[in-house]
């Protein structure tokens, strides 16, 4: 809502500095978006960012009421009177749509000259209000709308029929609008029609065919009250927003229609000359809103705000807002809401009005005394802990949009159905991501394009799947690309699968995970032979490994890289750490090297060593591994065993026995030869 400072002060006759006026309006809740000097004049254009509840402030009159209340001044009442006339309007009005238009006032004006000039103060106020000048009649109508908040529409009397009907549109009924568009309406749309056709989209926009031009010399002016619910959402549905729809859907004063018509008529006669008919009004009385009454319990006011305001002061504030204070009985105040305040419905609304005029700054700050929530172990803190762990391991957290390009899913062979956005900003943001992989891949590519050779990133976020039970799942994923051969003079190591495996095991250990099993992974993003699934109590909670070469190919990334993903909510374990006293007895270590032919999983060697090593085997390490002979596929394994007991000093003799069992076992099971 834009207006001139001088226009406002015409209604509230005070002297007020522009800066002060800005602060004052803001303090009242009328947010000032900008204040700009108007042309070369000593005047200012105020642009207010109105909240949707204050339809009444879509007029200079409405803003003046607010300012007057705050300044404790009376508003300058404008008495608009129209000289009597005997002319009866030629047009008849019918209200067919029940409840949609409870009040419809109209007047006809004849023999005026629409090519005359209207005074500059009107044109300036319109310009400042951001309203384009069209022709004198339309300009005057718009000016009065800016002034009083009542949108009105003029029809060329020669271009409309004898009976005006306010009715709902027929299904698929067409109407040609002023902006030269044609809208196909539905049964929920209200139209103004004559005997033949829909002339206007009621409360939203007039029709092209019946519009007023410079040649027009006779008009029919509509000044109606449309029920906000009937207008609401219509303009938006048809992608049009007008000064009129904005006001009607928020609620226009249902008692101002005739006043507005009088003012318009006076201005037209004054500047364009002509004659006019009497004003006629058609009503559906039972649909005109009640003058609402609200009871305010003064002790509720104190409880809600936290401090007491004297009842006299309360009454004064309410009166200053044009609200009728009826009575005060036992702390209960009955207030009649005026016809322009659609937003005041319940006691709390009145409490806000009083607090607002009194000033929010005057409400004292009071310590909150509430029962504390139980401190529950929150998922938030656990996931933060995990993020910090990875950050300390050199991983950078990223956050990506939840929506992605559809193409990337095809490139990743993701075939299951996804959730799509019906109205995406653009095609790159049209599908809700079913995995964090697409986002991380995009991050990888863009960072590689920027010349990075080392990318270690992770993200925590929801992924979305079309599923009737649970459509969103919290995921925790990471991606590692390390081909920085020029890292540093003392570090030339390149990240490999076993670095990833260590990371995952350490991470799970940090999260107090127990009973973890690794198994061959079927994750479609991962290389089938260089990947593992992580399972806890039989449930797969995540996977990690080298990214599938197909993805390298599809995304044009030549070098290998790694990926992991976990179900975030499955990563939080009850911490079960108990302190163990360390053994007082010495440990015994033995190193054994075996030559083992063929391909054997380390897991198998580990299992047997564990079994044969007995209960005092406290540590078992593979400290060297290499292929002895490529042809014969013989590998050399060097193990370090540590035994220690909590109860006694172990003797060499008993360990020797165990060692020979191990040698024997490895020979029998794996055909292993002990290296001398």
């Amino acid at each position: 809502m834009k207006f001139l400072k001088s226009h406002l002060l015409e209604k509230v006759p005070i002297r007020i500095d522009t800066k002060k006026l800005e602060t004052e309006l803001t303090r009242l809740g009328l947010e000032v978006d900008s204040v700009k000097k108007f042309k070369n004049k000593a005047d200012f254009v105020f642009d207010l960012d109105l909240t949707p509840n204050r339809g009444d402030c879509f007029s200079v009159l409405g803003i003046a009421r607010e300012l007057a209340a705050a300044e404790n001044k009376k508003i300058k009442q404008e008495i608009v009177d129209l000289k009597k006339t005997d002319l009866k309007p030629k047009t008849r009005v019918k209200l067919s749509a029940q409840g949609a238009c409870p009040r419809y006032s109209f007047i006809e004006i004849y023999n005026f000259d629409n090519s005359k000039k209207i005074p500059n103060f009107i044109l300036d106020r319109l310009e400042a209000g951001g309203i384009n000048s069209i022709n004198p009649v339309v300009d005057i109508l718009n000016y009065v709308m800016l002034d009083f908040g009542q949108p009105m529409h003029a029809f060329d009397l020669d271009k409309i029929g004898k009976v005006i009907n306010v009715r709902y549109a027929k299904e698929k009924e067409k109407v040609n609008l002023l902006d030269e568009s044609t809208k196909v309406l539905n049964k929920n749309c209200l139209v103004i029609s004559d005997e033949n056709q829909a002339l206007a989209f009621a409360g939203i926009m007039g029709g092209l065919n019946s519009s007023v031009t410079n040649e027009t010399n006779a008009i029919f002016i509509e000044s109606a009250f449309f029920t906000p619910d009937v207008i609401r959402g219509k303009a938006r549905n048809f992608n049009i927003q007008t000064d009129s729809s904005q006001r009607f859907e928020r609620g226009v004063d249902f008692n101002i229609q005739i006043q507005a018509l009088k003012k318009v008529t006076n201005l037209i006669i004054k500047y364009l000359s002509g004659s006019y008919s009497v004003i006629s009004t058609v009503e559906q009385k039972k649909h005109i809103p009640d003058q609402r009454k609200i009871t305010l319990n003064l002790s509720n006011l104190r409880t809600k705000l936290g401090y007491e305001i004297k009842s006299n002061k309360i009454k004064k504030v309410l009166k200053s807002l044009d609200l009728k204070v009826e009575s005060l009985k036992n702390n209960f105040l009955t207030v009649e809401v005026s016809s322009h305040r659609f937003d005041l419905k319940i006691e709390e609304d009145l409490i806000e009005e009083i607090a607002r005029i009194e000033g929010y700054d005057n409400i004292p700050s009071i310590d909150l005394k509430t029962t504390n929530q139980q401190f529950r172990n929150s998922k938030y803190l656990q996931s933060l802990q995990l993020k910090k762990y990875l950050a300390n391991q050199g991983y950078q957290e990223v956050i990506n949009y939840s929506f992605i390009n559809k193409q990337i899913l095809d490139d990743l062979d993701i075939t299951h159905e996804t959730i799509k956005i019906k109205n995406p900003l653009n095609e790159n943001l049209e599908v809700m991501r079913p995995s964090l992989m697409p986002s991380l891949l995009t991050n990888l590519k863009s960072n590689l394009n920027r010349g990075e050779t080392f990318v270690k990133i992770f993200e925590e976020g929801k992924v979305f799947k079309l599923d009737s039970v649970k459509s969103e799942t919290n995921m925790f994923s990471g991606l590692i690309f390390d081909h920085d051969k020029k890292k540093n003079w003392n570090n030339k190591e390149i990240f490999d699968f076993f670095d990833l495996k260590k990371l995952i095991i350490d991470m799970l250990g940090y999260l107090s995970a127990t009973n973890i099993k690794f198994m061959k992974s079927k994750n479609i993003f991962l290389h089938p032979n260089i990947s593992l699934d992580v399972a806890v109590e039989g449930k797969i909670i995540g996977s990690f490994g080298r990214v599938h070469p197909k993805i390298n190919k599809n995304f044009g990334i030549k070098k290998t890289f790694f990926y992991f993903e976990f179900l975030t909510d499955s990563l939080f374990f009850e911490s079960d750490i108990k302190m163990n006293e360390s053994s007082k007895y010495p440990s015994i270590q033995r190193d054994l090297s075996f030559l083992i032919p063929g391909k054997i999983d380390f897991d198998k060697l580990y299992e047997l060593a564990k079994k044969l090593g007995g209960s005092n085997l406290v540590n078992f390490k593979l400290f060297d591994l290499y292929q002895e002979s490529e042809k014969k596929q013989v590998s050399s394994y060097a193990f370090n065993f540590t035994w220690q007991s909590n109860k006694k000093t172990l003797e060499d003799k008993e360990i020797d026995l165990i060692v020979s069992d191990i040698i024997k076992g490895f020979r029998e099971k794996f055909n292993a030869k002990l290296r001398s």
């Binding site: 409490i351 504390n372 956050i399």
Partner: protein
């Protein structure tokens, strides 16, 4: 045996020793099995009885002198030897280390943590809620009926499923009201979505919602709670302004502004929970009241990290988000 010569030799020998090996040799030379002082002691019995105490005393003095010289010299030698050892350990400590591992949390996460850590100490429970919502939770239950002009303030993304992406974190309020017993104190950080993109808006951004429900909660409490928080966040005593505003789910409603170098800066929205909201969620609104507040994380991060274009936050350029050059 000339005792005074022995004494002079002893002094001379210690003076000329320069390593711990020299010292060991001296020990053998004087106090070893065949050492000069040892020999002297052995010969004590050959002296006349009346001279023995005097000689014995002299021998003892020699032993004491040996110990004294030994201690003194060994300290000197140890010091010298350590210096030699240290002088051999030469490393160019100005050589660079590998700092290419730019690990860190995203600025948004850091900002959420900064905010949450405050409210956690005040007993708020951190709640998570769905990002895909129904019209009911995102609008209706928050007193924003169909076609209400307030819905125009939310440029909503609608989904193929008929649901929508939440436009604010306020629906978490409703889930919490349905899920928990009163009183209630929750904080909900999370992603929200609006169809908007320019330097100050991204189609996805983050909010934090706070909700307190108890008996006798008032606007004064809301003011105190938020002013305390803002002072904590910015680490100074701020000038804070509460100005009337409108949210369908609070009444009275307010915007909170803080004063910075350029003037008033809008920082968050808040208000007393609208009775309709409590009613719809089945809370006895005559018994309970409360307040709610919401703030944009990006805006807070922007102030904390001096970000000019919000879109940078989600482009994930490693150099940019890690804040390292």
């Amino acid at each position: 045996m000339d005792l005074s010569k022995l004494k002079a030799d002893l002094k001379k020998d210690f003076n000329s020793s320069s390593s711990s090996i020299d010292l060991q040799n001296l020990k053998v030379k004087y106090l070893g099995k065949k050492g000069k002082i040892t020999n002297l002691s052995k010969k004590l019995s050959t002296f006349e009885k009346k001279h023995r105490p005097k000689v014995g005393k002299k021998i003892n003095e020699l032993k004491l002198l040996f110990n004294e010289l030994n201690d003194k010299t060994s300290l000197k030698i140890e010091k010298k030897e350590l210096e030699i050892e240290i002088s051999k350990d030469q490393v160019d400590v100005s050589l660079p280390v590998d700092t290419s591992q730019r690990g860190g949390l995203h600025p948004i996460t850091r900002t959420i943590e900064k905010i949450s850590s405050y409210f956690l100490t005040k007993g708020y429970l951190i709640e998570d809620g769905p990002e895909i919502e129904s019209e009911y939770y995102n609008f209706d239950a928050l007193n924003i009926p169909q076609d209400h002009p307030a819905r125009d303030m939310h440029d909503t993304f609608y989904l193929s499923t008929g649901d929508l992406l939440r436009t604010h974190t306020s629906p978490v309020q409703i889930h919490a009201l349905e899920k928990y017993e009163m009183p209630l104190k929750i904080l909900c950080p999370g992603k929200v979505y609006r169809s908007d993109s320019d330097p100050t808006h991204t189609p996805m951004f983050h909010q934090i919602e706070g909700l307190v429900i108890d008996k006798n909660v008032n606007f004064g409490n809301l003011k105190k709670e938020l002013v305390d928080f803002l002072n904590y966040f910015f680490g100074k005593d701020l000038k804070v302004r509460f100005r009337p505003s409108y949210f369908p789910f609070t009444e009275p409603s307010a915007e909170v502004d803080i004063m910075d170098q350029k003037g008033w800066l809008e920082i968050m929205g808040c208000g007393m929970v609208h009775p309709n909201v409590l009613k719809m969620s089945g809370i006895d609104y005559k018994k309970y009241s409360g307040f709610a507040f919401g703030l944009g994380i990006e805006r807070m991060a922007k102030l904390d990290y001096s970000i000019s274009d919000m879109r940078i936050l989600f482009e994930n350029d490693l150099k940019a988000i890690s804040g390292k050059k």
